[in-house]
C-alpha cells in the first residue's frame, strides 16, 4: 500500500499532477473524513426526507381541510425557495432563538451544530419534494383496490400501510430516485455552514497545496461515483420490487 501511495508522490515530482490526499497521510485522513461525512449526511437526509415524504403524503390525504392546507403550504414554501437560503434561515435565524448550552470550557455553544442543522434543513427540503412524489404514487393506486380493502374491513391506517403504500412506492420509485440523487448533490451546500464534508475538506486541501484543478476533477469523479452507486442501487431495488402487470 505504501508503494502505491509513494507512486503518486513520484507522479507529482515527475509530472506535476499533485494528489496529496493519496500520498500524504494527513491529507488522506482529511479526505476520508470528508468523504464519510458526505455519506453520513446523505444517509441521514435520505432517511428523514423519506419519513417526511411518507407522513406528509398521508397528511395530505387527511379528511381535515386545515391539515391538507398546512401540508400544501409547507410543500410550496420549500419547493419555491432556494435551499441555501433555507439552510441559512435554519442555521442562523432559527438557531438564534434556541437556548445555548455550556460546552464544558466555560463557553456557550448553540444546542445544535452545523451538521444537525444541515441534516434538518436538507431533510425538509428534499421531504417537500418527496411528499409530492409519494402523493402522485398514492393517486396512481386504483380507487377500486382501496374500495376492496375498505369492503374487507381495513381501517384507514391499515389500508395505508398494507395496500396503498406498497403499490404507491412502486409507482413513485423512478421520481424518488431522481430526487434522492438531487439530495446527495445538495449535501454540498453544507459547505456554506462549515460542515466538514467532502467539498469543504477538498477546499482545505487545495488551499494548502494549491492544486485546485486536480482536486476539482477528483471531486467531480467522486460525486459521479457516489451518484452512480445510488442510481445503481435504486434501479436494482426497482427491478426487485417490480410486480408483473402493475406499472409500466
Amino acid at each position: 500500500m505504501e508503494a502505491f501511495y509513494d507512486w503518486f508522490r513520484v507522479l507529482y515530482e515527475t509530472t506535476g499532477i499533485n494528489l496529496p490526499f493519496l500520498y500524504d497521510s494527513y491529507d488522506r485522513d482529511r479526505m476520508f473524513f470528508g468523504f464519510f461525512m458526505t455519506i453520513k449526511l446523505s444517509l441521514v437526509c435520505l432517511f428523514f426526507s423519506i419519513i417526511i415524504g411518507i407522513i406528509g403524503a398521508w397528511l395530505q390525504n387527511s379528511p381535515f381541510k386545515w391539515t391538507r392546507r398546512f401540508m400544501n403550504g409547507y410543500i410550496q414554501l420549500f419547493r419555491n425557495t432556494p435551499p441555501l437560503v433555507q439552510l441559512y434561515f435554519f442555521y442562523f435565524a432559527i438557531s438564534s432563538l434556541l437556548p445555548t448550552v455550556s460546552n464544558g470550557y466555560g463557553g456557550q455553544q448553540p444546542i445544535l451544530g452545523g451538521f444537525a442543522w444541515a441534516a434538518i434543513s436538507l431533510s425538509f427540503f428534499a421531504g417537500a419534494f418527496n411528499v409530492e412524489i409519494f402523493r402522485s404514487g398514492i393517486e396512481a393506486v386504483p380507487e377500486s383496490t382501496i374500495e376492496a380493502a375498505e369492503a374487507l374491513g381495513f381501517s384507514r391506517l391499515t389500508i395505508y400501510t398494507h395496500i396503498t403504500m406498497p403499490l404507491a412506492i412502486r409507482v413513485a420509485l423512478p421520481a424518488l430516485n431522481n430526487n434522492l440523487v438531487n439530495l446527495v448533490k445538495t449535501t454540498t451546500l453544507a459547505y456554506a455552514i462549515a460542515v466538514p464534508e467532502m467539498l469543504y475538506e477538498a477546499n482545505q486541501i487545495w488551499s494548502d497545496n494549491v492544486n485546485v484543478t486536480e482536486m476539482m476533477f477528483f471531486l467531480l469523479l467522486v460525486y459521479f461515483g457516489l451518484v452512480g452507486v445510488l442510481v445503481w442501487g435504486m434501479n436494482s431495488w426497482e427491478r426487485k420490487l417490480k410486480l408483473p402487470g402493475f406499472g409500466a
Binding site: N61, P63, K65, R68, R69, N72, G73, Q76, L77, R79, N80, T81, P82, P83, L84, V85, Q86, Y88, F89, F92, A93, I94, S96, L97, E150, A151, V181, K185, T186, T187, T188, L189, Y191, A192, L199, N203, V212, T213, M216, L219, L220, Y223, F224, V227, G228
Partner: protein
C-alpha cells in the same frame, strides 16, 4: 326486495365520504392578507422599540429593502443569462445525443451525464477557479468578472439538463412521425427541423421552465464564491447593523419571500402548461 337488501348491507352503510380534492392554491388576495399580517405583526414590534437608539426591525428592513431588491434583480439577470447560454449549448448537445454519428453521440452522452451528475456547487467552484480572470485574444483583453464566471458555472449544469430535456422530447415522439416524414422524402435535417422539433417545443416547455426555476434558486450559490448578489448583500446588511440577532429572522425571511414571489408563479404556470399539453392516454 332489492331495496331492502341494499339498506341493511353493512358495507354500503360504511361507504366513506369521497375525499374532497380542494388542493390549496395561493391566490393574489392571499398576498394582501400576508401584507396585513406583516403590518399587524410589526405594530407591537414598533411599540416595543422604546429605546430611541434602536430602530425597530421593520424600519431597518425597509431601509435595506432597496439594496436587497437590487441584489435580487442581479440574481435574476444571472439566472436569465445562464439560462440563455445553457439552453443554446444544451440544445446543441441534445441534438448531438440523437446524432447518427456514433462518436458525436457518445461524446454528447458522456458530457451530458458528467455535468448532470455533478453537484451545482462543485461546478460553480470549477468555473470560478479554473477560468482565468481575464482572457487575452488577439491582443484584446477581455476581463472575466466574478459574476460572469458564476454565470458560466451555472450554465454548465443547465446545459446538461437541457440536453436531456431535448433528447427526452425527441425520443418521446412516436416513431411514426419519423417514418411518415421519411416516406414523404424529407431529408433527415428537414425531418428534424420541420417536423420533430416543432412538436418537441410543446413537450420541452414545462421541464424547461422547471429547470429555470431551479436555476433561479441556485443563483444564491454564487454568494458562496463571493458574487455580491442578494444573499451576500443580506449578510453584509446584517453585519452593518452590528449583528443584531433579532434581525436575522426578518432578513432571511425577506430573502425567502423574494424567491417565493418569483418562483411560485413560474411553478404554477408550469403545472398549468403540463396539464394543457398532457397527452391523453
Amino acid at each position: 326486495m332489492n331495496n331492502q337488501t341494499h339498506k341493511i348491507m353493512p358495507v354500503m352503510m360504511l361507504t366513506p365520504k369521497p375525499r374532497p380534492d380542494d388542493r390549496f392554491q395561493l391566490r393574489p388576495w392571499h398576498g394582501l392578507v400576508l401584507i396585513v399580517v406583516c403590518i399587524a405583526a410589526s405594530i407591537p414590534a414598533a411599540f416595543a422599540a422604546t429605546d430611541p437608539g434602536r430602530a425597530s426591525t421593520w424600519d431597518i428592513l425597509v431601509q435595506w429593502m432597496p439594496l436587497l431588491l437590487k441584489g435580487f434583480i442581479f440574481n435574476i439577470i444571472i439566472s436569465i443569462s445562464a439560462m440563455a447560454l445553457g439552453t443554446l449549448a444544451g440544445a446543441a448537445l441534445g441534438l448531438g445525443q440523437i446524432s447518427l454519428n456514433p462518436v458525436v453521440r457518445k461524446f454528447a452522452w458522456i458530457t451530458t451525464q458528467f455535468f448532470r451528475n455533478a453537484p451545482w456547487l462543485v461546478l460553480l467552484f470549477f468555473a470560478m477557479f479554473l477560468l482565468p480572470f481575464e482572457w487575452k485574444i488577439f491582443g484584446l483583453t477581455i476581463p472575466l468578472p466574478d459574476w460572469l464566471k458564476a454565470m458560466f458555472g451555472l450554465a454548465l449544469p443547465v446545459m446538461a439538463n437541457v440536453s436531456e430535456i431535448v433528447r427526452g422530447a425527441v425520443v418521446s415522439l412516436p416513431s411514426g412521425q419519423w417514418e411518415a416524414a421519411e416516406s414523404l422524402a424529407f431529408s433527415r435535417t428537414q425531418v428534424l427541423w420541420r417536423i420533430i422539433l416543432p412538436q418537441c417545443v410543446k413537450r420541452m416547455l414545462p421541464p424547461w421552465m422547471n429547470l429555470y426555476s431551479i436555476l433561479t434558486m441556485a443563483t444564491v450559490l454564487a454568494s458562496i464564491v463571493g458574487v455580491s448578489e442578494v444573499m451576500t448583500l443580506t449578510g453584509q446588511a446584517l453585519a452593518a447593523e452590528g449583528g443584531r440577532s433579532d434581525l436575522l429572522i426578518p432578513f432571511y425571511s425577506f430573502v425567502l419571500f423574494l424567491f417565493f414571489v418569483y418562483c411560485y408563479p413560474i411553478a404554477r404556470l408550469t403545472v398549468r402548461l403540463e396539464k394543457k399539453f398532457a397527452v391523453k392516454t
